[in-house]
């Protein structure tokens, strides 16, 4: 990894110029921070695949979007579907490349760069795979700045870019091409095909030009997760970890407390996003002694302190296991765990009216005003 701190714009901390094999663990850890709900099922297979690719093909150049020629055609990739399906049915290796090639054939273009649809979870790693396979640079920007559930929950969609034509390429060698003008329709069409494709699929979408991405994508998100990952790998004292993470991500600790109740899958889905609502109740130790209720869907969507909304989507909320000084994934929580509740603000665009409508609390069935918009 080569830092180019001398040339970065003000406020842009520790940008990364390329991603090599040695950066893969940090990238993985950072990607996990931005979607703490995901377990570690794919860790070894994915990271070793990517590490091998980067060792064979050399590091992938990571370019800030404003340094790329505005006319360069570029496309986003991500993993669509379930992470456990990905563990059960590992990729053959060429799914992402073939998905991109299909769009190239359809549009008659050659993509000069790849960018992540969502720089978090495994979807932060697969663009590196695709860039290494295609031999093109990777753009240090993404559409979400974290993960959201649906493919049109992106900054590009808000900026008016269409996700289509898009191709979903399954591990069985089959693929689906979707062409629909409306992002929401495209998501529905796609989602109904994922199961048939094998539970997960390599998605190539939002084909566009680099010039449009300068205004449509969220910049610097890939180098950010690499930096976050480096911090997380150090395994320091939790207090110090939170302070350091705060410098990079703007996160803060809402409270420290002990888990006193886990409420699993007790209620029907109440939002537009497919997920089972459940709750974790944490009794704050020290401070005000508040009762924190953490609402879970496929991620943490809201935190109530004594019934008052303290944080909520699109804020990114994660739990740090105090005893281990590491992120606690949602499937590893147990009664009695001492956790820090960490709130990280999402990128500013998600707090706009349009952004809130799309990914705010209302989309999870919580009809309360967000604390930042009260």
């Amino acid at each position: 990894m080569t830092s180019v701190t001398g040339t970065v714009p003000a406020g842009y901390v520790g940008a990364v110029a390329s991603i090599g094999a040695e950066d893969v663990p940090a990238l993985y850890e950072g990607a996990k921070f931005y979607s703490s709900a995901v377990g570690d099922a794919n860790r070894s297979s994915l990271t070793s695949w990517l590490t091998g690719l980067l060792e064979r093909n050399g590091p992938v150049p990571l370019r800030r979007v404003e340094t790329v020629d505005p006319d360069t055609p570029c496309v986003s990739v991500c993993v669509l579907g379930s992470g456990s399906a990905l563990a059960d049915l590992p990729p053959a290796g060429d799914e992402f490349e073939l998905a991109i090639r299909q769009i190239e054939r359809l549009q008659g273009v050659r993509f000069g760069a790849v960018y992540p649809l969502a720089a978090a979870t495994v979807s932060a790693l697969v663009p590196v795979v695709a860039a290494a396979q295609l031999g093109v640079p990777l753009i240090d920007a993404d559409g979400m700045g974290r993960t959201f559930a649906l493919i049109h929950h992106t900054a590009m969609h808000l900026a008016g870019l269409s996700p289509t034509p898009l191709v979903a390429f399954g591990p069985t060698g089959e693929s689906v091409l979707v062409e629909a003008p409306d992002g929401r329709r495209a998501d529905r069409l796609l989602r109904s095909n994922v199961d048939t494709l094998g539970g997960w699929a390599a998605l190539a979408a939002y084909p566009t030009k680099a010039g449009l991405l300068r205004h449509a994508a969220l910049p610097g998100t890939l180098s950010r997760i690499a930096n976050v990952g480096r911090l997380l790998l150090e395994r320091t004292d939790p207090d110090l970890l939170v302070t350091r993470l705060g410098a990079i991500t703007g996160c803060r600790r809402l409270a420290r407390g002990r888990i006193v109740e886990l409420e699993h899958l007790s209620r029907p889905s109440d939002g537009t996003i497919p997920a089972h609502p459940s709750s974790v109740v944490v009794d704050e130790t020290g401070g005000l002694g508040r009762q924190l209720r953490i609402e879970l869907r496929s991620e943490i969507v809201a935190v109530f302190a004594d019934g008052a909304l303290a944080a909520g989507a699109p804020d990114l909320v994660c739990l740090v296991d105090v005893s281990r000084g590491a992120l606690a994934t949602l499937d590893s929580l147990e009664l009695g765990d001492l956790v820090d509740v960490i709130v990280t603000p999402a990128d500013a665009i998600w707090y706009s009216t349009e952004g809130m409508e799309m990914v705010g609390l209302g989309s999870h069935g919580i009809s309360l005003n967000h604390p930042r918009r009260r």
Binding site: E263, S279, Q291, F304, D306
Partner: protein, 599 residues
């Protein structure tokens, strides 16, 4: 100004006593005295935000999806200062209760449809008087279910939260919360008389109603009145129960006696089946070693009796025996004796009551001493004397101690009400206590006509008794009587003329006993001559004789003397017994005098 009771807003505490909230579970009840002015069926958080203080919120639909929504609703309710939140049971969990407690917000969970519940509640809140009437009806049902005085007071105190209630008898709190009877500032005292059967005043229900409290005094008074029949029934029930227990104990004690006496009866030739009469009958153990083995029967411990250790008996007896004591007196004596000593038995035996204390250490007299000391006031009030036996082991020992206690009680009679006599201190003098005073006096009536007709017979008999007591010493007798020696001489001379030939050796013992009997009969227990003893001899003794009251008028004078033996001592005053009746207590009341009266 205080609003009229009919329009006084209903409180949360009142609402949770009647349906539908009576069926609700209070996960947390912050303040039952908070008023409820309005009911809001909140479907959205927006509706919750518009709530005014003192409303009761029923959550419904979007506001009641559980998890975060109840937490958020509780927070909003706290912000809006509502009285309580009602929600379906399915959405509330332990953490909801914890949050409600943290926010001090009442939270009730219901199983019924929230919309129906809200409608019913709205009706109750808009007509508080009707809701209160319903509540009183339910309270009456609860009261009717109670079978004990304590239970009735428990219902009243739980119904009237914040208003302590007590049952007071003669300024003493018998049940309930004592604070109700204490004068306190800003408290209105509500009292309701409770009558025993026969409209006799029995006690008062007293409630201390806070002046600015949520419950109006009128409502408290009507609730207290509702409780009266239940209290009376509970009181009657305790009386019934205690009668049954008394009968049970009496029968068991009879069994115990029979058990101990069985071998002795065989020794003396099958003299069985005869109830205890004289002291000898009582002392079954007299015939046998007191430490003789009689297994303690299991049923004695079922009654709560302890017989296994060293038993020290206590005999409670009236100063003037009138046969078996009336049930009312037994009830009072039992209540007084067992106050603080609920485990001690109290069994009616003949004219008195037996109790005992069993202890591992025969020399441990402290419990009995305390019991006797605590009972002395009651003994004085009921004209009772107390005899205490020695400690003996086992069942035979118990019966021996009972006999001793009884003997001691007879000795104690000489000293009047509340006298306590320990058998250890009695000695041979006890023999005198068993003298059939009345019968001997009757003998005087028959054998010493002249003396008994003399106007100065009292002085003559007292003088002869004094001289005999002093072994013939005239000077000692004159000192004792406080008269001159010559007066003594003159009286002796006159007594001799009237038949009191005390200096003839073969008559001396008989005349000594006779004089003792006459003086005892003419003198009350305090040593004062009976009223009229110095007057007309015949009618005089009728008034003050023991047991004269209630005498069987038809008993012919003297008919019983020397009559058929063996008739058992039965209860009642009309008993005719030629044999010495069952101790002084079973004396046929008044019969020596009826003869004179008819004569």
């Amino acid at each position: 100004m205080r609003p009229r009771p009919s329009t006084l807003p209903i409180t949360l505490g009142e609402l949770v006593r009647i349906q539908p909230l009576a069926g609700a579970e209070g996960l947390y009840l912050a303040d039952a005295s908070r008023r409820v002015e309005q009911v809001v069926l909140a479907e959205t958080f927006e509706r919750l935000r518009r709530c005014t203080p003192h409303v009761l919120v029923v959550l419904h639909d979007e506001a009641a999806t559980g998890g975060w929504s109840l937490a958020a609703a509780l927070h909003l309710a706290w912000e809006r200062n509502v009285t309580a939140v009602v929600v379906s049971r399915t959405v509330a969990g332990p953490s909801s209760a914890a949050l409600a407690e943290r926010l001090n917000m009442s939270l009730l969970v219901i199983d019924a449809d929230p919309v129906n519940v809200a409608l019913q509640l709205a009706g109750q809140v808009s007509a508080p008087a009707a809701a209160r009437a319903l509540r009183q009806a339910m309270c009456a049902e609860r009261l009717a279910e109670q079978t004990s005085i304590r239970g009735v007071l428990g219902v009243l105190n739980s119904e009237l939260q914040g208003v302590p209630v007590a049952l007071v008898m003669a300024e003493t709190v018998v049940a309930g919360r004592a604070i109700a009877a204490q004068p306190r500032p800003n408290v209105e005292r509500v009292e309701v008389e409770v009558h025993a059967p026969g409209e006799r005043p029995w006690g008062r229900l007293v409630a201390a109603v806070p002046v600015h409290g949520p419950v109006p005094a009128e409502q408290v008074a009507s609730l207290l009145r509702l409780a009266r029949p239940a209290l009376q029934a509970a009181w009657a029930r305790t009386r019934l129960d205690s009668s049954a227990r008394a009968a049970h104990e009496q029968a068991a004690f009879g069994m115990l006696r029979r058990l101990a006496a069985q071998p002795a009866d065989e020794e003396v030739g099958g003299r069985s089946g005869e109830p205890a009469a004289g002291p000898g009958d009582l002392v079954a153990g007299r015939f046998r070693d007191p430490a003789g083995d009689v297994d303690v029967p299991a049923w004695s411990s079922e009654l709560g009796w302890q017989v296994g250790g060293a038993n020290r008996a206590v005999w409670l007896a009236p100063v003037r025996p009138t046969g078996e004591p009336p049930e009312e007196v037994t009830h009072l004596v039992r209540a007084s004796w067992q106050r603080g000593r609920a485990g001690w038995p109290l069994i009616v035996q003949g004219d008195g009551w037996v109790s005992w204390h069993s202890s591992a250490d025969p020399d441990d007299v402290a419990p009995v001493r305390r019991a006797v000391a605590a009972f002395r006031d009651s003994a004085a009030a009921h004209d009772l004397v107390i005899g205490v036996g020695r400690a003996h082991r086992g069942v035979p020992g118990l019966l021996r101690s009972v006999a001793e206690a009884r003997l001691a009680a007879h000795v104690a009679r000489e000293r009047g009400p509340a006298a306590v006599q320990w058998f250890d201190q009695v000695g041979p003098q006890a023999a005198l206590a068993w003298l059939p005073i009345s019968e001997i006096a009757q003998v005087a009536d028959l054998c010493l006509n002249n003396l008994m007709d003399a106007r100065d017979r009292t002085a003559l008999v007292q003088t002869v008794l004094a001289v005999l007591d002093c072994g013939g010493s005239l000077s000692q007798a004159s000192l004792r009587l406080g008269v001159h020696r010559n007066t003594v001489l003159a009286r002796l001379s006159r007594a001799r003329q009237l038949g009191l030939t005390f200096d003839e050796p073969e008559q001396r013992l008989a005349l000594h006993v006779l004089c003792y009997a006459l003086v005892s009969q003419w003198t009350d227990s305090n040593g004062h001559p009976h009223a009229g003893t110095a007057g007309a001899p015949g009618g005089a003794s009728a008034g003050g004789a023991p047991g004269a009251a209630g005498a069987g008028g038809g008993v012919a004078g003297g008919a019983g003397v020397g009559g058929a033996a063996g008739a058992p001592a039965a209860a009642g005053g009309a008993q005719l017994s030629g044999r010495r009746p069952a101790g002084p207590g079973a004396e046929p009341p008044g019969w020596p005098h009826t003869g004179r009266r008819s004569a």
